[in-house]
Amino acid sequence: MDAPTLIARRIAQELRDGMLVNLGIGIPTLVANYVPAGVQVFFQSENGLIGTGPVPEEGMRQARLTDAGGRAVTALPGAATFDSAMSFGLIRGGHVDMTVLGGLEVDVTGRLANWTIPGKMVPGMGGAMDLVSGARRVVIAMQHTAKGKSKIVPRCRLPLTSVRAVDLVVTELAVIAFPDGRATLLEVAPGVAVADVLAATGAPLIVRDDVHPMPLTSEAIS
């Protein structure tokens, strides 16, 4: 299983029936493919849609129905559309139960940097700052390292997305949470030892006694 698939399948385990969920671009988008059986969630696209469905079939594209990345999507029965003020009212107001976003760095207190690398990548924060400040639960989907360097860091060197700590970080190696503001290893990926995680992590991790293997949802059906 490749890293993005593993991460998406683990995060899909966090989905609960009736949740309103916002998925970022990249690995987070894959989470929609692994919704557990019997769980029904609402996916929000922050450009103004709840009930975002998969990519339309050939010939069924509607130019006025896209996700936040501008890609054509479908809408499920019971979908709702709205303007951007409402969309971010939902996000900041705590109505989004969970958001899944990519990360560049997460520090040992759970603070996230994910929107810019000054001098190199300045795309703008889009909705990321509002999502991290306002969603009830913030889950970061990211590779554990980039170019051999740990993305879990003692302190973010990149500009922060929010001072609010994220709730969960899921990588291809581990699941990390931040109880009492301290990075804590909860789970390891199948076949990965705690020592492997610690070796790959450039910051101290608290290791819980009950560290266990990641639960994963089934493979996508489609």
Binding site: G70, G124, A128, D130, G134, V163
Partner: protein, 214 residues
């Protein structure tokens, strides 16, 4: 509300003015108005919008033509041309969190001085901003934002100027339609008064100053 030819509508907008433009990555952007501004070469614009779309699409056309002096947007990641112009100093880009941007525009349109938001507290967004603490929580004071013109893309417009938007093409459009001194609308379809039921009107007619003729 006045019905106006496309050429006349674009001619209302002088060089150096501020324009709010509807759309999200080019979806829900009044393309005909953009094309006409490019044809006229209306320059030195301050554009307030969610993003600058993609190269050659929507607001991306204004960027490519070098008509934008300043962009107040939340995202330019899909338009490398905007990034290049920013780095070259041709265009000033103010990056604003998307929820803060739309709320500042809404405040401008609704006669509020501004709003208080936690978004951006403790980040580079806080720089130069006032903060206020209520009940132990610190908020940024984000001031209202208005423009000289709003360029709105609608799905239906009736003869009076009542508007609806379709699906995700709504985005910034109904919000900017309240926040500019002059509101210019390009609608996909113009329909008789009464075709849009009162409960489905998203922008009431009195907000519209000009409707581009078909």
């Amino acid at each position: 509300m006045k019905t106006i030819a496309l050429e006349q509508a674009a001619a209302l907008i002088p060089d150096g003015t501020s324009v709010m433009i509807g759309g999200f990555m080019g979806v829900g952007t009044p393309e005909r108005l953009i094309d006409e501004l490019v044809r006229r070469g209306t320059g030195g614009l301050t554009v307030i919008a969610n993003d600058t779309a993609m190269p050659g699409v929507g607001i991306g056309k204004l960027m490519r033509a070098g008509l934008v002096r300043r962009a107040v947007v939340s995202h330019i990641g899909l338009n490398p041309e905007t990034q290049q112009q920013m780095i070259a100093g041709k265009t000033d880009v103010d990056l604003v969190p998307q929820g803060t941007l739309i709320e500042r525009i809404r405040a401008g349109g609704c006669g509020l001085g501004g709003v208080l938001t936690e978004t951006g507290v403790g980040t580079v967004v806080e720089k130069g901003k006032r903060t206020i603490t209520l009940d132990g929580t610190t908020y940024l004071v984000e001031p209202a934002l208005r423009a000289d013109f709003a360029l709105v893309s609608a799905f239906l417009a009736d003869y009076l100027g009542n508007l609806t938007y379709a699906l995700t093409a709504r985005n910034f459009n109904p919000v900017i339609a309240m926040a500019a001194d002059a509101v210019i609308v390009d609608a996909e379809h113009i329909v008789p008064t009464g075709v849009i039921p009162p409960d489905h009107v998203m922008t009431p007619a009195p907000l519209v100053d000009y409707l581009v003729a078909h």
